[in-house]
């Protein structure tokens, strides 16, 4: 499989927060050739170890989360329609959207979010957004058939496979954050058999979107000295304003500075980027980074954390969009950082 095929296989898979085992299998398969050992733990976290073979080497964790945003079935109406609640989704992108219900066992079940056609609307209706608790999912089946296949509590995710756009742009429902898992894969690919001076712990973590619980558990178990959370960052879109503090799409890795992405660590990343002529951007992160670094930093004895972000347009939509050049540049920065890192900041 080419790098792009692996990326698409990973982002096309389903794994809403708390239901990552299926996507974890795929991630583990992709990671396997690059590390000494891969495991999937009881939470669904994928963890791979690559040792440098040196005594007393420091441990560097590279984390990207595997879970995606999504929904839960809350009710099945007597007509066979589903009501649902959402995790991290703007209601304005749901009417008419295509979703897949992910039953505990069995294949995804396709459905369309109901909308009222223009012919039956009153003037002004189309200016108001519909709250998610008033929405319905049409799975095209009568009640009796629905209850055989779907239960309250089943997960739902945006449907549709990745879509190629112009140049090296790709759009998908779950670039956040599986594309970042692929930046780690790219880093490992570039690293090859190069001799390094730290032990690597690669984590594809669970439940980031609901608080970073997967990464927290891995930090507890693996006790890293350092951790880099690789997550997506808001890239500029045509409708964003300067107040949104977005980063450039295609501008390369975003290196965070702040309490959660500690300056000493971040400066090293900047030095590496400069020395290796990798394009990069700086983001000020005043407090919570909204990434797994927030959870990892305070586990047990404390961990030095860094946040590196991949520019992404339309985050948390069914059509999140990235450019592969950013993916490669994030991977390259990670690789060069690892190569230059002797365990001391």
């Amino acid at each position: 499989m080419t790098f792009q095929e692996k990326l698409k296989k990973l982002v096309n898979a389903y794994g809403v927060s708390g239901d990552e085992f299926r996507v974890a299998e795929i991630a583990a398969e992709i990671l396997k050739p690059y590390v000494d050992k891969v495991e999937i733990d009881k939470l669904g976290n994928v963890v791979g170890y690559k040792s440098c073979g040196k005594p007393n080497a420091k441990k560097l964790m590279l984390d990207a989360h595997l879970d995606q945003i999504g929904f839960l079935v809350t009710d099945i109406t007597k007509e066979g329609f589903l009501r649902f609640m959402a995790m991290g989704v703007d209601p304005r992108m749901l009417l008419g959207s295509e979703l897949n219900v992910i039953p505990k066992n069995g294949e995804p079940i396709y459905g369309v979010v109901c909308s009222t056609p223009p012919h039956l609307q009153k003037p002004g209706d189309n200016k108001k957004s519909v709250p998610i608790d008033q929405m319905l999912l049409d799975v095209g089946m009568p009640y009796e058939m629905v209850i055989e296949k779907i239960e309250v509590g089943d997960y739902i995710a945006f449907a549709n496979d990745a879509l190629d756009l112009l140049g090296d742009c790709i759009s998908s429902k779950s670039m956040d954050d599986r594309a970042c898992f692929m930046t780690i894969i790219h880093a490992l690919e570039l690293l090859g058999d190069t001799e390094i001076d730290c032990d690597l712990i690669i984590v594809g973590s669970t439940k980031e979107e609901v608080g970073g619980h997967g990464a927290m558990a891995r930090a507890y178990i693996d006790k890293p000295d350092y951790a880099i959370a690789i997550d997506v960052g808001h890239a500029k879109t045509a409708d964003s304003t300067p107040m949104d503090r977005t980063q450039d799409f295609g501008g390369g890795p975003i290196i965070g500075f702040g309490a959660n992405s500690i300056p000493k660590f971040a400066r090293r990343a900047v030095e590496v980027a400069r020395a290796k002529e990798i394009p990069y951007q700086i983001e000020a992160i005043p407090a919570a980074s909204g990434t797994n670094a927030w959870a990892i930093q305070i586990v047990e004895d404390g961990v030095s954390t860094l946040v590196i972000s991949l520019p992404l347009r339309y985050m948390h939509s069914p059509v999140e969009m990235l450019t592969l050049s950013d993916v490669y540049n994030v991977g390259k920065l990670l690789c060069e950082f690892i190569k230059s890192f002797d365990g001391q900041l």
Binding site: R92, G111, S115, H119
Partner: protein, 340 residues
Amino acid sequence: MKELLKKLTDLDGLAGYEDEVREFIENEIKDHVDEMFTDPMGNLYAFKKGAKRREKKLLVSAHMDEVGFLVHSITEDGMLKLSQVGGIDPRVLVGRRMKAGHKKVNGIISIKAIHLTTPEERKVAPQLASLYVDIGSSSKKQTEEYVRVGDPVYFNSDFIEFGDNRIKAKAIDDRLGCAMMIEIIKGDIEYDTWFGFSVQEEIGIRGARVLGNRVNPDISLVLEGTTAADLPNVAVHAQACAQGKGGVISLIDGKTVYDREIREPILKKADEEGIKWQYKTAGTGANDNGAIHIAKDGCMAFGLSAPLRYIHSAANVLYWPDAEEMLKMAKLFIKESGAL
């Protein structure tokens, strides 16, 4: 007919840009008709001889066009700004996949991330004027290599079978009517019949006027897709029609009062043959009959539609058994109207 519907919904044909659909239909029917021609608007006419001549001339029609957009400008950063062609609720556009221009490059419509908005902002639905298609280009110049102002933009939405005999696709309104006519034309018919594949229905029933003028029928049968709002949050009296109850028979709509003289005998016969049908209980909307029945000296009109959920969006939903019942009714109509 399902295979035909799939092929037809995979094609693109905005009002005024129906060429791709028309060419497909011409190829499908050319060996099965006795006469075939087009007019300056792009309507396609086909005459097929039946086993018998009929006293009253019948025109069966369906429209080839679909709702969508035209590129009205390209921004400096390469985004496509759109004008809509036909009635589309802007709320079904965010998060959709599109195809743009004659090269049909992929694009997406979305809005900035939820993290960058306030709860108040999320209560207001973005209107078309603030939306745009992002094809992954970084400049106006790059975009113009692929898409030009005036090019059509379509929903990028696959034909998918799901649930209990459901089909999701774009433009089932009214490619289903087209598929049904092709199916009928490929078979034997009882009486001579004119078939019309019309253009520009979605922007005000334009093609059908010329269709009516040229054929000048005594009876018009329009095969359409109509709104089924049979959803749990819509009161039964407001649902217009429902899936699973067969073809939808029009009584009155925004442009036509349908003729009892022709409706009653056909429905009686349909009941005898056990064909499922239902009345449309809303008077809104209109179809090509609106123009055909007032063309020249006028004619009698019969409206037969498939109950479709979410028409005029990327995801029209059809219940396949309704299409089968509708086809039976259309065939029955062609036969029975010959004896009227």
